[in-house]
Amino acid sequence: MNAVKNTPVRRSPLAHRTAMSAPDDVLHLSERAFDAKIVLRGLPEALGPAVAKVTGLELPSATRSTASETHRLLWQSPDEFLLLGPMDSESALMSALAVELEGQHVQTVNVTDYHTTLVLSGPRARETLMTLSTLDLHPRGFTPDQVAGTTFGHASGWLVQTVDDGAEGGPSFDILVRWSHADYLFCELTHGARAFGMPEAKPVSGELMEI
């Protein structure tokens, strides 16, 4: 996991926060900043071969994601996908995709600095998300590799389950949230998890939705 929050050229929106945990390892919350993030717009017929060549990943079907050791590809809508890669790989990915997609009616946009990623893991992760979301988060309703664009409190973002419920340490979820909403959502998640002994983080500005 990338714990870097400051580099000479950029500073993550949660650089002032440290990872937080509830007692007995029931819940962990942290930020994984600076994942490479690229939005791919276009028809799957055009995007599929190019993405496969650059990342080795197949395009996911609706509401799903595909992943390798290094990359993850999220379905966002019938003609839109979000490609995640390792830190500092966005320029190389953009160049490689530009070569493969040359002349086609598609669009690639580097949104690396648009979202940051919150990582919520542990046996209580689902219950914590339930305090903020209207999604069906039962293990049968939201499964590994599933993707949903939704709202968490007042912040909208993308949720994807990256680790199975059966794994040691429980399931893990990535939440992609806009930079300006990241501090709010970080604090809101600690607030939602206070029943599990999570210490509460207070937002730098503004206030939380009381739940």
Binding site: S77, P78, A148, T151
Partner: protein, 123 residues
């Protein structure tokens, strides 16, 4: 609040969606030749049906696509969800259109506000 079946994402809570007005209103092709009255008709005038109504919805936080819906505006029963560009499917809705058996024309409030002369005098 109700649950909406997005054609792309599946069942989601209404809070993820934005209402986008009456469906199947085509934008005029030669608007430069229209009178102000005709333009106003296109921009502002809607049928505001009580009962089975074709309307557009936008999945704002999910796939961010528009789609059409046939909804009974009196009972909030959703009869069909279909894609932009498709014709509304044939559905059967039971009339009268509200659980209370109000008239299918006019506002529900008026229908329940009808009182007998004796009741009016008493209040």
């Amino acid at each position: 609040m109700f649950v909406i079946d997005c054609p792309n994402c599946g069942s989601r809570d209404q809070s993820e969606f934005t209402y986008a007005g009456e469906a199947h209103i085509a934008r005029p092709t030669e608007s430069e030749n229209m009178t102000d009255a005709e333009w106003a008709e296109f921009v502002f005038m809607r049928t505001n049906t009580k009962g089975l109504f074709a309307e557009r919805w936008w999945h704002a936080t999910g796939c961010r696509k528009f789609f059409n819906m046939l909804r009974n505006t009196a009972t909030d029963e959703i009869h069909a969800v279909y894609r932009i560009g498709e014709k509304p499917p044939k559905v059967t809705a039971n009339l009268p259109l509200t659980p209370a058996g109000e008239s299918s024309i006019g506002s529900g409030n008026d229908a329940v506000k009808i009182m007998t002369r004796d009741e009016e005098n008493a209040s």
